[in-house]
């Protein structure tokens, strides 16, 4: 398969992924359309369930909870989130970081904006540690000591689907005849949130998935499972090192060197190359790149 055919196949894969993300990542968890009449966010029994990807529960139409919001909430009340940890762990051990590639609507938004024609830049590799900082400091330590959800306060996806829509819409609450967002309540924190969102939206044009790679704490959790998940990628011994997989990869990983890198979002673009395969279970072919990478790093 030549480069042109591969790019065509990648577009086809993107066309399969897009409706999948839209239905399961965006529409199903955000289908509380009664908000138009109630003017209040849903707080029924489905809010007890977390979605696997980022999904702001303050979004006007949100039906389900956000795992990162819950982890922060549990840290703030000094409890270990057994249910959320178990839920994320099961998904991670089976699929690795596939949620980032196949379910997260914010990842999908980044992919779409990156398609705008412009000069493109690579993100310095040391910035990938930012997501671990975000997880440990913003989502665990600060909420634990300050009882405030610091990551949620700056989360650009939350700002895009919750903060901005509420402020623009600002309906009158039928219960008390007052606007939902009281006058004067939009302050410096909101300005900071929107500024972070604008900066990221601009970055999406020039770099591939900057949020997923540098700031997403949920990605930091799932990334720990890539090396040990049942689902994994393998490169056959026939790989000639043409770096086609790097071109196809939305997070610029050298798949041939480390097919199960923690940064891999399992979008499966690289499997369009005949030498990269998805495999399930423990089987390791002797001489495959996966076993070489695992043992040299181990």
């Amino acid at each position: 398969m030549n480069r042109k055919q591969l790019y065509k196949a990648r577009a086809l894969l993107r066309n399969i992924r897009s409706p999948f993300v839209a239905i399961f990542g965006l529409i199903l968890p955000n289908s509380y359309f009664s908000v138009i009449s109630t003017k209040e966010i849903y707080s029924g029994p489905l809010k007890q369930v977390c979605v696997p990807g980022l999904n702001c529960h303050a979004c006007p139409t949100a039906m389900m909870a956000c795992p990162m919001g819950m982890i922060q909430q549990f840290a703030a009340v000094h409890k270990f989130p057994f249910a959320v940890a178990g839920f994320l762990g099961i998904i991670g051990i089976v699929f690795g970081r596939s949620v980032c590639g196949w379910l997260c609507p914010f990842g999908w938004v980044q992919d779409q904006i990156y398609r705008i024609k412009s000069k493109k830049f690579k993100i310095p590799t040391y910035l990938k540690y930012g997501k671990y900082f975000s997880l440990v400091i913003l989502a665990l330590i600060l909420p634990y000591f300050t009882e405030a959800n610091w990551f949620s306060r700056i989360c650009p996806w939350g700002t895009l689907i919750a903060g901005v829509p509420w402020v623009i819409w600002n309906p009158v609450n039928p219960m008390n005849a007052l606007p939902v967002i009281e006058p004067g309540s939009v302050g410096w924190l909101y300005v900071m949130k929107v500024s972070i969102l604008v900066i990221f939206l601009a970055l999406f044009v020039f770099t591939r998935r900057p949020f997923c790679r540098t700031l997403c704490p949920l990605g930091a959790i799932y990334s720990q499972f890539n090396k040990i998940s049942f689902m994994r990628l393998e490169v056959t011994g026939k790989c000639v090192g043409c770096d086609m997989c790097v071109d196809l990869c939305p997070v610029e990983i050298s798949v041939a060197d480390d097919p199960n890198s923690p940064d891999c979002i399992r979008c499966l673009n690289c499997t369009l190359c005949n030498n990269v395969h998805v495999r399930w279970g423990p089987t390791l072919e002797s001489g495959s790149k996966q076993i070489v990478a695992a043992s040299s790093k181990g």
């Binding site: 707080s43 007890q48 009340v77 249910a83 762990g89 099961i90 043992s295």
Partner: protein, 44 residues
Amino acid sequence: MHRIAMYLHSNAFKTGLMLLFAASLILGVLAGELTLIRIGSSAL
């Protein structure tokens, strides 16, 4: 190191980890964490 890598990729290790997470999920549900999630998501 190679042995550790092999063990991390073994079915036994992955299955054990999955059972551990399943136990965590069940424990959380039985402890009433789902209610806390709902209250938390309303409070946020």
